[in-house]
């Protein structure tokens, strides 16, 4: 095996770096959108509202049972049917592949975040929410002041788990030609025949990205346990989480 990592100081290195930037951007955008979907959907499911229940069910089951990469391709190629033409044309010139990847990843991971949020809310003892209601607090008030602050402790570990999954899944965006890291690795392999070197580097970079996410999660957990004195919640967390996945 003749590897030569010094070539990475040249063009391949620049390519990987630009890929890294795209990967990070993609992960951040998808994360932000997915969290919003997750919180809204998770709360809706937790309420158990008859009217929206089937809708939520279909969405979540669809996402849980179909491969993200096929979803990605599906959204990408069908968007021009679904979106109104002006919107589509605007998006297209704006860098539609990136947008499609963000939307597909957010849509997919939003379903998992929703399950995490719901499980977190379920882990807050039922009496807590009832006590808040018995005091006359409104739904949103109870949610914001009582349910979420307690749920969040339970939420962090599985949330970190899902987030690393999201970061890893950004690599699928290469299938629709988003120039992220894996894409750049393929390009380097194709045109410069320096696959092994590039693969080594991006593997390390992915590990670092995932570890950063885990580290941020731990920071957040530390912050929360300092500022939310909630031993009860921790006890619940220990019980509900198996292998970092909340038992559903």
């Amino acid at each position: 095996m003749n590897t030569d990592f010094s070539i990475l100081w040249g063009d391949p290195g620049t390519l990987i770096l630009s890929g890294l930037v795209v990967t990070v951007k993609l992960a951040l955008c998808a994360f932000a959108l997915a969290i919003i979907i997750g919180v809204v959907m998770g709360t809706l499911r937790w309420i158990g509202w008859r009217a929206v229940e089937p809708f939520c069910w279909v969405y979540i089951e669809f996402c849980r049972n179909t491969p993200p990469v096929v979803q990605l391709l599906f959204w990408y190629f069908s968007a021009s049917f679904v979106l109104p033409m002006p919107v589509f044309m605007f998006l297209r010139d704006f860098g539609y592949e990136f947008g499609a990847a963000v939307i597909a990843l957010a849509f997919y991971h939003g379903a998992f975040y929703a399950e995490v949020v719901r499980a977190g809310l379920n882990a807050v003892p039922k009496g807590q929410f009832e006590a808040a209601r018995a005091l006359g607090l409104g739904f949103l008030q109870s949610l914001r002041r009582v349910a979420f602050p307690q749920a969040i402790r339970v939420l962090v570990p599985p949330l970190v788990n899902e987030t690393t999954a999201l970061i890893k899944n950004t690599s699928l965006a290469m299938a629709i030609g988003v120039a992220e890291m894996t894409f750049q690795y393929r390009a380097i392999d194709n045109f410069m025949f320096r696959g092994i070197e590039a693969l080594t580097v991006i593997t390390v970079l992915y590990v670092i990205l995932c570890l950063i996410a885990a580290w941020l999660g731990r920071l957040m957990n530390g912050y929360l346990s300092k500022h939310l004195h909630a031993r009860n919640a921790t006890a619940i967390a220990d019980r509900q989480i198996v292998g970092g996945e909340i038992i559903r």
Binding site: S80, F81, F88, A187
Partner: protein, 255 residues
């Protein structure tokens, strides 16, 4: 040991071919591989007196497959580029094709110059990924996993043009259910050209020569012409003429 000896010993030649290039190498409705290159490969195997095994390859992995000895020979729309010569050995060409653009009718794109600020769809592994920006720096390149996907993208308006070998584009257009909606730019759109050649592993001149001789034999006894007419020329759906190949003339191989 050279590839050609190995193959004879084994009794099987493993050929990397395309399965998504209409009329060159593609899967028919029954899932069988068929096309011009497939028939060329079959003929080579016949002349070698060995069985043939096809391995569908993509532009993005065909070289690695060859290097890793997963396949013995590539006949998969590989254009003979100099930088590729560093990693594989090319045979003599079996086809020349200019490179041009496929656009929607009425798009207003007539030449490569019109591509300024437009989006062009390409296969992720095709040479045009590097070449097109050299000709037209102000183009946005969007890559796909294969050519048909790039063509869907054109259909759906995700890109304004698909740019590659004329013959591939003609195949894509002809295979589409609505060919009349698309326009192959032809001569005006030519921005380059390439010799399709078979490739064997680097530093295996013995095998390359063997394949070269077989390719020459195909020219001489008319096999090549028959196959060309069957898939691309007069008897085919494409009805391509020499003009479509940039007035490329058949070379005369002597001993």
């Amino acid at each position: 040991q050279s590839m050609i000896e190995e193959v004879k010993e084994r009794g099987v030649i493993r050929v990397g071919v395309k399965n998504d290039a209409p009329y060159l190498g593609f899967t028919d409705d029954k899932g069988q591989l068929d096309g011009f290159e497939i028939d060329l490969a079959k003929d080579i195997a016949k002349r070698l007196g060995v069985k043939i095994e096809f391995e569908p390859v993509k532009a993005s992995n065909r070289v690695q497959l060859l290097q890793q000895k997963r396949i013995d020979l590539i006949i998969a729309t590989v254009s003979h580029y100099r930088n590729r010569d560093k990693v594989v050995d090319f045979t003599i060409p079996y086809l020349y094709t200019p490179q041009t653009l496929l656009v929607k009718k009425g798009s207003g794109i007539k030449t490569v110059a019109d591509l300024e600020g437009k989006r062009v769809g390409l296969d992720a592994g095709s040479g045009s990924v590097k070449k097109l920006p050299l000709v037209q720096p102000k183009v946005t390149i969007q890559t796909y996993q294969n050519w048909p996907e790039a063509f869907f993208a054109l259909q759906r308006g995700l890109v304004d043009a698909v740019a590659t070998d004329n013959i591939l584009l003609a195949g894509l257009r002809a295979a589409a259910p609505n060919p009349e909606e698309f326009e192959l730019l032809g001569k005006a759109g030519f921005y380059g050209g390439g010799f399709y050649a078979a490739a064997v592993r680097e530093d295996d001149s013995k095998s390359r020569d063997a394949i070269n001789f077989l390719l020459q034999d195909q020219w001489r006894d008319g096999t090549w012409m028959t196959l060309f007419n069957k898939w691309l020329g007069s008897e085919s759906k494409l009805k391509m003429t020499l003009a479509d190949f940039g007035d490329f003339t058949v070379p005369d191989w002597d001993d």
